[in-house]
Amino acid sequence: MQDNALELFEVFIRSKRGLDHKHVGSLHSEDHAQALEYARDVYTRRSEGVSIWVVKSADICASQEDDAENFFDPNDDKPYRHATYYDLPDAVNNM
C-alpha cells in the first residue's frame, strides 16, 4: 500500500501564546509542509492551538521506559533538593 511509504511525524501544539508546545499525536505525511497542513486539519479543528510543530518521529531520541529505574536512579536519593526537606518554624516558613 502506498501509505506505508509516507513518513511518520509527531505533532506538538501550543494551545495559547505563552504556553509550551505539547505533544498531541502523530500522522503520516510526505514532507514537513504537508505534515503541518494535515496536523492543522486533524488536530486543530476546534481552535485547539495557535502554533504547531511537526517533527519526524525518526528524529526523536527517547529514553527507554524499561531502563527508567537505572536512568533516573541518581536523582532518587536526594530529598534535600526539595524545599519541603527543610523544616522551618512557622514564623519564617513562607520562603
Binding site: 505563552g18 526537606y85 522551618l88
Partner: protein, 318 residues
C-alpha cells in the same frame, strides 16, 4: 504601502499583544530594540547564574558535614541548569552561545555584581542562599510574567527550583545562631556583609535606572527596582528578627502609614565601583571562567572528533 508604514503596522500589532498580556514568541515580529534589550537582560541573567557558582563552589571541600556538602553541590548544579535554561532562551532571539560567552569574557556583558564579593566563611554559604537567592527569587517571581514567552517559561521553571536554595541557606543560619557564641558571631558577620549587596541586586533607584522605562512599557520587567527591593526589605526584616541577629540597617523602621519598612540609604558609590569592575573579585571571577572554558576545550574537541568519525563510518557503510 511603504516599508516604513509596514513596520509601524507591525509595531502596532506587537504593542497590541503586549497590552493584551499576550506573550511574544520567537518567530513573532518584534522591534529591534525589544530584541536587543531582551538579549542584554537574559544573557546577563544567564551569566549571573554561571558566575554565581564560583563563591559557593569554593566551599564544597570545606562544608562542615557530608550532608551540607551534598546539599551545596545540589544547589550549585541547579545554578548551572539555570544558566542553561537562560542561555537557551536568549538563543531563540538569534544570538549564539559563543557570542554571549565572548561578551562575558571580554567584559562587555555584565553579571550580577553580588558575585564580586568574596565568600569568606561557612556563614556566607548561609547568607548567600538566604539573602542572595532570596533577592533573586523576588525578582524572578516577578519575571514569570515577562512578555517574552521563552524567558517567562524559563523563569517559571527556575522559580520552582529556587525555594530550596533559600531554605537551605536559612537552615544554615539557624544552625549557626543556635550554636556556640563564635558560630552566632559568624552568622552576624555574614549577614552584615551580604545584606547591603543583596539590596543592591535590585539595581539603581527607579529615577536613575537607564533601561527601566522602556522595559516596563514592553513588559520585559513587570515591577520597578524600588518596588521589588521594598518587597525584599519587608520580608527579610522578620527573618532577621527570628534569627535573633542584629539588623544591619540601623535606620530600618516600620512605617504604619505606608505599610512598609522605611530603610537607610544604600552606599551607591560602592555599587557603581563594583559595577565598574573594582569589586573584590571581578578579575578573579572572569579569569576563572576563562580558565575553565579553555581547560574544557579538549572535551569539545573530542566530541567533534567523535562526531566526524561516526559520520565517516556511516558514509563508508552507505
Amino acid at each position: 504601502m511603504s516599508s516604513e508604514q509596514n513596520i509601524s503596522l507591525q509595531e502596532q500589532q506587537f504593542m497590541h499583544k503586549i497590552k493584551a498580556e499576550e506573550k511574544i514568541e520567537p518567530k513573532d515580529w518584534m522591534p529591534e530594540k525589544y530584541r536587543k534589550n531582551l538579549i542584554r537582560q537574559i544573557s546577563q541573567h544567564a551569566h549571573s547564574e554561571v558566575i554565581g557558582m564560583q563563591p559557593e563552589g569554593n566551599f564544597l571541600t570545606r562544608a562542615p558535614s557530608l550532608r551540607r556538602k551534598a546539599i551545596l553541590l545540589s544547589k550549585i548544579q541547579d545554578e548551572a541548569g539555570h544558566g542553561l535554561y537562560l542561555y537557551s532562551a536568549a538563543e531563540t532571539l538569534g544570538i549564539t552561545r559563543e557570542e554571549m560567552i565572548e561578551a562575558l569574557q571580554s567584559g562587555q556583558a555584565k553579571y550580577a555584581s553580588i558575585f564580586n564579593y568574596p565568600a569568606l566563611t561557612w556563614g556566607d554559604m548561609g547568607a548567600i542562599g538566604w539573602l542572595v537567592d532570596g533577592a533573586a527569587i523576588v525578582n524572578q517571581v516577578s519575571l514569570q510574567r515577562t512578555s517574552y514567552g521563552p524567558y517567562s517559561r524559563g523563569m517559571i521553571r527556575i522559580c520552582k527550583e529556587e525555594s530550596f536554595h533559600q531554605r537551605q541557606g536559612y537552615d544554615i543560619m539557624l544552625s549557626l545562631v543556635n550554636g556556640t557564641p563564635a558560630q552566632k558571631a559568624m552568622a552576624q558577620d555574614s549577614l552584615n556583609r551580604f545584606y547591603w549587596p543583596a539590596l543592591m541586586m535590585f539595581g539603581p533607584h527607579d529615577s536613575e535606572s537607564a533601561h527601566s522605562a522602556k522595559s516596563m512599557e514592553w513588559k520585559i520587567k513587570r515591577e520597578t527596582n524600588d518596588d521589588l527591593r521594598q518587597k525584599f526589605i519587608d520580608q527579610t526584616a522578620s527573618q532577621i528578627e527570628f534569627l535573633g541577629l542584629e539588623h544591619p540597617d540601623k535606620e530600618l523602621k516600620w512605617n504604619e502609614e505606608r505599610g512598609h519598612y522605611d530603610s537607610g540609604e544604600i552606599d551607591w558609590e560602592e555599587f557603581h565601583n563594583v559595577i565598574a569592575g573594582n569589586g573584590h573579585c571581578n578579575r578573579q571571577r572572569l579569569e576563572h571562567h576563562i580558565k575553565a572554558h579553555e581547560e574544557g576545550a579538549w572535551v569539545r574537541e573530542a566530541l567533534a572528533a567523535y562526531n566526524a568519525k561516526k559520520q565517516a563510518n556511516k558514509a563508508e557503510a552507505a
